[in-house]
């Protein structure tokens, strides 16, 4: 028995995840039924029942999206609190890297939220049209979402059961700081090239979105996501903390930094989400200009915010870190 399981937050978190898992199983069963028996032209009793059940699926998905988003924030804060119990951990970064499941778990959580958001958008368009043209598409989205939620739950359990409270973990500066001699950046980049790529890809994404080229948009969006993550952790973050050695994606979510992390990561993720949603939806025949504009706006906000921190630091101190 791990003392973590007596932490209030961990108990509630796992309990809520389990409750949501139960709903997901129900959702999954319904969707499989839809995909099997759905026939819009039929007037049979079964079809009528299925159409009613579609509303249940919709309600469950809405609830899942809301609660999963809340639970993500809750999860990050819980992890941060746990750093008091786990030796060596200073903040959430150390705890999340206490075993190999942590980072995967975070990533899965984001994808779950993304797929559910995609479903909600597709669903609202689907309900407006009277013939359910997107029915199959949105069902598949939900199938993927529920699959991801199953994996997420598995990772939740594995993550919390595999945290050892007796062996020390690394604190964030050791994890994200330069390990001796090793280059932590992907593709063997250095900071200058990373920044160059960061702004280039941002520009490329905006242009690709304006030109409405689907493949290139998707490509630049995904690449920008990766580069932006590293850019924030290894460059822009140090300006938020005003400390060249503090490289951590989590600390900026704390009060000391005015919760700016929520704005920063939120604008990045939702910018990416809406961009990808625009690509996927235009692939199935809906050109949602709102999503496109939202994506452009959020990504611009993200880049502006990052650059602003550097600019403010420079104007205050006259030097760069």
């Amino acid at each position: 028995m791990n003392p973590l399981f007596l932490n209030n937050q961990v108990i509630v978190y796992l309990f809520s995840e389990a409750a949501l898992l139960a709903l997901t199983i129900l959702l999954f069963a319904k969707i499989v039924k839809f995909l099997w028996f759905w026939d819009f032209r039929s007037y049979s009793n079964r079809q009528l029942k299925l159409e009613k059940e579609a509303y249940l699926a919709m309600t469950i998905a809405t609830l899942l999206f809301t609660l999963k988003s809340v639970l993500l924030i809750f999860f990050v804060h819980t992890i941060d609190k746990l750093s008091l119990i786990i030796p060596g951990a200073m903040c959430a970064a150390g705890v999340i890297s206490a075993n190999s499941y942590g980072m995967d778990l975070l990533f899965i959580k984001l994808t779950v939220i993304f797929t559910l958001l995609l479903f909600l958008i597709a669903n609202s368009y689907d309900l407006q049209a009277k013939t359910y043209p997107l029915f199959r598409f949105k069902s598949w989205v939900l199938i993927i979402a529920s699959g991801l939620i199953f994996i997420e739950f598995f990772l939740d359990i594995s993550y919390f059961t595999h945290i050892d409270t007796s062996t020390p973990v690394s604190c964030c500066s050791a994890l994200f700081g330069n390990l001796e001699g090793a280059n932590p950046l992907p593709f063997g980049l250095d900071i200058t090239k990373l920044l160059l790529l960061f702004y280039m890809l941002y520009l490329g994404t905006i242009i690709a979105l304006t030109l409405e080229t689907k493949t290139i948009t998707l490509l630049t969006l995904l690449l920008f996501g990766v580069i932006a993550y590293y850019g924030v952790v290894y460059f822009f973050g140090t300006y938020i903390y005003e400390l060249p050695t503090h490289k951590c994606p989590f600390c900026m979510l704390q009060r000391e930094y005015y919760y700016v992390g929520y704005l920063l990561w939120g604008s990045l993720f939702f910018g990416l989400f809406f961009g990808v949603i625009w690509v996927i939806m235009s692939q199935v025949g809906y050109n949602i200009t709102k999503a496109k504009w939202a994506s452009m706006l959020l990504l611009t906000l993200f880049v502006a915010l990052c650059s602003l921190y550097v600019a403010i630091y420079y104007s205050k101190n006259g030097v760069l870190l």
Binding site: L179, E180, G181, A182, N183, F187, G188, L189, D190, K193, L196, L197, M200, L201, L203, G204, I207, A208, T210, L211, T213, I216, T220, L223
Partner: protein, 167 residues
């Protein structure tokens, strides 16, 4: 307008690909493991370019360095024989490996399993076991050194430090 944007996008994409290619091709990551050392000979360590696998520090000197060669030719490098023993503990192939240690008395690579180890030498991670070729009345053999590392009876333990160094 649209044409200009298209050209701009192409240029940007080209630059991005170019930067990525350039960076990927330029290799400057530190060495952690070398493959293909089937002869199981001690390899020269590229100083300041090689990471100790256990403690993740750069190896800055060959003094007290150690190498482990697996039967399939993979070679790992260490800056302290203590690190090497600790790392090897959990490996399934720990009985089959070839171990090389750099001695402090004769300054050459010898078989780690046959070497003698001092107990209060100055080593990189302060375990205190310096490899020697010649035996003296304070040295211990490999098996004993291994046991002491597992048990934590090293200079890194303050109680033992006080006992061994007499202060």
């Amino acid at each position: 307008m649209k044409q200009i944007l298209k050209i701009l996008l192409t240029v940007i994409l080209l630059v991005v690909v170019a930067i990525l290619l350039l960076s990927v091709l330029k290799k400057d990551a530190p060495i952690v493991v070398v493959k293909g050392n089937l002869a199981q000979k001690p390899l020269p360590i590229k100083l300041n370019k090689t990471n100790d696998t256990e403690c993740a520090m750069l190896i800055k000197t060959t003094r007290n360095a150690a190498e482990v060669v697996a039967p399939d030719g993979r070679t790992w490098f260490f800056d302290d024989p203590g690190c090497m023993v600790k790392w090897l503990e959990s490996k399934p192939f720990k009985e089959q490996v070839k171990i090389w240690v750099h001695t402090i008395d004769t300054n050459r690579w010898i078989d780690g399993k046959k070497a003698k180890y001092g107990v209060k030498d100055h080593t990189a991670m302060h375990y205190g076991f310096g490899a020697r070729e010649k035996e003296n009345n304070e040295t211990i053999d490999f098996k004993q050194m291994q046991l002491r590392i597992y048990r934590g009876e090293t200079l890194a333990n303050p109680k033992f430090r006080a006992k061994l160094l007499g202060k």
